[in-house]
């Protein structure tokens, strides 16, 4: 069943079709929200909010204008930006030097510590840089697709990605060195 057929069925309040849509895209939206918000609970709330909007208004997606997955990613990304704006109004505009995510106490496994540091580094990126990394690194979108979702140009997203990677390398310098040394 195509996405368009699913959305059509959802328009007739077909629960089974809604379940199929969730199987297809919930993980995708959840991943985007998790990387953007840095909190599992908030990410779940946001994913629920996005899919309930689709359930109530499936005709908001216009098939001729964008693929459903692209449109869905845009809806989820905008919801994340709105959420961040409510929480931290300054973050979206700010391009301040990121805070060094200092390693925590070594009472957990090294991998878990490293995961926390990577998460902290991602959360320290300005929101649009984080969104660019999330879309193009974690979700596998091309720069062009990412630019389409973020409603910006390919050049702009390349610049965002470049700055994000530079900041991440700085924030994770010690781990990078260790990784390069091990190699």
């Amino acid at each position: 069943m195509s996405d368009a057929e699913l959305l059509h069925a959802i328009g007739r309040s077909d629960m089974a079709a809604f379940g199929v849509l969730l199987d297809r895209y919930l993980e995708h939206v959840q991943m985007l929200a998790r990387r953007m918000l840095g909190d599992a609970g908030e990410a779940e709330d946001l994913a629920q909010e996005v899919f309930l909007k689709i359930w109530k208004n499936p005709d908001r997606w216009q098939p001729g204008r964008a693929q459903f997955k692209t449109w869905l990613s845009r809806v989820a990304a905008n919801a994340c930006i709105d959420n961040l704006r409510r929480k931290k109004p300054d973050e979206l505009e700010g391009e301040d030097e990121p805070v060094d995510p200092a390693p925590g106490p070594y009472d957990e496994t090294l991998n878990s510590q490293l995961a926390k540091r990577v998460e902290a580094a991602l959360q320290n990126l300005p929101a649009r840089q984080r969104l660019a990394i999330t879309l193009c690194h974690y979700q596998g979108y091309s720069n062009k697709e990412g630019a389409n979702i973020m409603q910006t140009s390919s050049e702009a997203i390349e610049s965002l990605l470049s700055r994000a990677r530079r900041s991440l390398k700085a924030m994770l310098a010690d781990d990078m060195k260790a990784l390069l040394h091990d190699k």
Partner: protein
């Protein structure tokens, strides 16, 4: 970018990609899927309930007008009752059916009066 940066760019990028891959993994989304399905079903139920409520909701008049109309009717019936009692206009209407039924209002009054006198004498 100097020559040293160029040489180290690719390994550094690869290292960063590996590090980004270490970010916390996603939790299982099956429980979340269940919650969203329940929320969608609830949203549908409440929407239907709302439609039914609106469809059967009676159209109300302006409550202020209703109170004034009721008060005016009650006041009018009270005045008619007082006027009819005071003027004796309704006596003929009341006595006619009592006579037909064989009841004598005056006689009953005298009977009660005499009964009362006897009781007073006893006291």
């Amino acid at each position: 970018m100097n020559s040293q940066d160029k040489n180290s760019a690719k390994p550094a990028d690869r290292a960063l990609d590996r590090l980004l891959g270490k970010a916390p993994a996603l939790e299982d989304v099956s429980a979340l899927k269940g919650r969203i399905m329940v929320a969608a079903a609830n949203a549908q139920t409440s929407a239907t309930a709302r439609i039914i409520t609106f469809a059967h909701m009676p159209v109300k008049d302006d409550p202020a007008n209703m109170h004034w109309g009721t008060a005016a009717l009650l006041a009018a019936s009270l005045f008619i009752g007082i006027w009819a009692g005071a003027s004796g206009a309704a006596d003929a209407l009341v006595s006619a059916p009592l006579s037909i039924a064989g009841l004598d209002i005056l006689g009953d009054s005298e009977f009660y009066k005499s009964g009362l006198s006897a009781a007073e004498e006893l006291l």
